[in-house]
Symmetry: C2
Amino acid sequence: MKKEPSILRYKHLGVLTQYANVVFLKNDSHVCISEGFTALTRIRVSTKNTSIVASLNVVTSNILLPDEIGLSDTAAEKLSISEGDTLSVSHLETINSLDHLRSKIYNHTLDYNAYQEIINDVVKGDYSNIHLSAFITACAGDRMDINEIADLTKAMIVSGVQLKWNKEIVMDKHCIGGLPGNRTTPLIVAIITAFGLTMPKTSSRAITSSAGTADTMEVLTDVSLSPEQIKKVVEKEGGCFVWGDAARLSPADDILIKIEKALDIDSEGQLIASVLSKKAAAGSTHVIIDMPIGETAKVRNRKKAEQLKTHIEVVGKEVGLNTKVIITDGSQPVGNGIGPVLEAIDVLSILRREPNAPFDLRERALLLAGALLELSGKVAAGDGVKTANDLLESGKAYTKFKAICMAQGRFTEPIIAPFFHEVHSENNGTLIRIDNRKIAKLAKLSGAPEFKAAGILLHVHLGNTIRKGQLLYTIYTQAEGELKYALDYLKMHTDIMTII
Amino acid sequence: MKKEPSILRYKHLGVLTQYANVVFLKNDSHVCISEGFTALTRIRVSTKNTSIVASLNVVTSNILLPDEIGLSDTAAEKLSISEGDTLSVSHLETINSLDHLRSKIYNHTLDYNAYQEIINDVVKGDYSNIHLSAFITACAGDRMDINEIADLTKAMIVSGVQLKWNKEIVMDKHCIGGLPGNRTTPLIVAIITAFGLTMPKTSSRAITSSAGTADTMEVLTDVSLSPEQIKKVVEKEGGCFVWGDAARLSPADDILIKIEKALDIDSEGQLIASVLSKKAAAGSTHVIIDMPIGETAKVRNRKKAEQLKTHIEVVGKEVGLNTKVIITDGSQPVGNGIGPVLEAIDVLSILRREPNAPFDLRERALLLAGALLELSGKVAAGDGVKTANDLLESGKAYTKFKAICMAQGRFTEPIIAPFFHEVHSENNGTLIRIDNRKIAKLAKLSGAPEFKAAGILLHVHLGNTIRKGQLLYTIYTQAEGELKYALDYLKMHTDIMTII
């Protein structure tokens, strides 16, 4: 039963696979034969200090020698290795939490320990896409009760870094997505920190939308900061706008979000756990949640909204957060731009008090900033919006915004995309409906958020009187191929805007 | 908006990825830049005649030139191309059936058209593992009603080849797995065809078990036959034992089964659709289904069994099959061998009337063959088992078995594995319990069914008096590494057999 360890030399193959760990081994290598490894086997690849789980691609050509091992670039990066370093490989030990996963697939209720074991294995990278997708699906469609959502949230909080601020009050906000262009966060952070309160804001990238706050802010400044860097920025300026994943807050969430994105779903349990685990791990104490409702927004009716509001506030309390959900209008996009660069331009125009700044986005930001100021107890009930407005109009919010950007590493002006296509009205009438989902889909097909400058610029809003030939919106793209793709969609969907 | 087609030369990289289609493109290639392709984008790869969908791996090293394209071997095989051939790539058009998938994730009931659209896209290869896993999970845990199961079954039937036999009666059987070693099918086919009835048997490979009938029969003969080859074999001998996938019967099933295997689940809806779609597509008219129940079998209690029996018989009727479910004892493995080669040895020993042939497997095969003979109406009620026994004892079944094997391409004697480990009893007593799941798991860890000779050979059965040191079972493996893996499991699970 003696067994030699399988030692292999790392050869750089230069293969990019996004987040997927792939390992390449020669078909006639000692390990493939002795360990019985075949294609797509999930195996453990280890250095002396660390290890990852990767899916095997078996190589039959001469791009590898039998004693060499190749890795996707992501995998090599996680192991911090370079050409010629030695690695060992072994069978993947049994993943015990898969018993819990199967139990959930079969509709059983899981307890805190089960969720913690699952989340730990997810964060370790032991779950394949098949396992992750099954977990997301088994938790979707109201298949988690409120206790399970709280347990999942708690498991996600402890799965990564937890920030501490030594402040009595730490402010936060979140928007339950679904409304294109609704980029209030950068404005709220600028107002709240200009007021003097602490607001260390961590945001996600887009899940199913064309941009998340992290995608938009990355246009203007660096958002991938380490916990130490975040600490420094917040100590200096009282706030930040960073990407939660880089901070390693609730890292399970960032893995699960990629699967939700591939499925284009965002289920209640995962949504609540995602939002609140990030807030709690970020050390927040007071949180305002913007929940737009509308026929084509993520939350479609008041009944659903009230249920979600209750669940969020209950789970918030369970994990120690003072949470208030504000239900807002979700009937049309907010602001003019949809896509990271175009939204960044909207944000700057409001902070700079430019005359053509989008009025609706400005008003929404003031409403939420006002509510947050009142929730803190530092501003009297009823005075929130006025206080927020003063900070914006005096230029104090803009000064603070630029200061935070510089503390995060840079302040960059947004640059518009090279390719565009204008869409004009084919008739006279009134704009009575904008399909949020279709306009967001069009922005995604144009390349957002992967290509930051891609997206849609709206020139009209609900209720506007439109004349035939009037410019309705412009599609921006980074590459010609993407433009064709967006135009194909446009041809098949003529009801993005309804003018009668 | 003019757009050149992206033409690339195929370079053979020799990368095995099992069933996953992977395409390799250079990062600085014209297509990656102009189309905006990034790692893991799912793209369409086309020859003049056909196309597949593949996941993109972006290459930054010199294993590819910018105008070259690499493919996993599976993908190249599907496109029937060789080095130097030209290929074009394009964006994947929107997969419309994903709207139905999302609807099912959110617990809505789907109709026949929705299932048909999903199944068509699955068969085309448009679904990624993430989509497939979500579909399997959304349909698991009693989340399909009986009409949905019938609709899914019908959609799966028409998704591939449908065989016609020009016979009034076409016999078939199936076992709802979960019982290691229960290899009655080859014996029943031999008996039924020796009687003179038609039985063109298509079988699956293992889903969650250590061997399926197709895995076992492949030890003895070729099982990957085309529909034309199957037709010839059946015309000549009246029956066959082939792998359903190679025959392109219900091809969706073979894709979905791989995902179920990765998740180690087998849900009711998918199980029924899987079994009955294969039977109907194979042109069967009369089907016996063996359903073992036992504490550690797939079906654990009589209530579950009765429900599943009803659902199968109802859906069977819906799709035009005369189906009878027979509930059998599932308290322990059937036969001595567990794993393809070891089970093939059991089958041969019964056909050859060897004195040490496993009595329990022989009896089970006669029970089911007898029931099938009676279901056909050609043998009087009560005479089935006797008729079956006569065909076995006369040697007619063995003669027919060898004839079918030869018609399928070969008859090969099984060869035992090179590595083994014997497990002995640590005490005196009576064998009162065998854990089917754990013994099957042990057989899988030993390498079955991927390595055909791997598996477990039982030397004892329930109720046997055991003395300390007595040989209980032998673990066979093809590679030393697999043996170590099985032994690790054994060390952690001492309750595979209970002797008191």
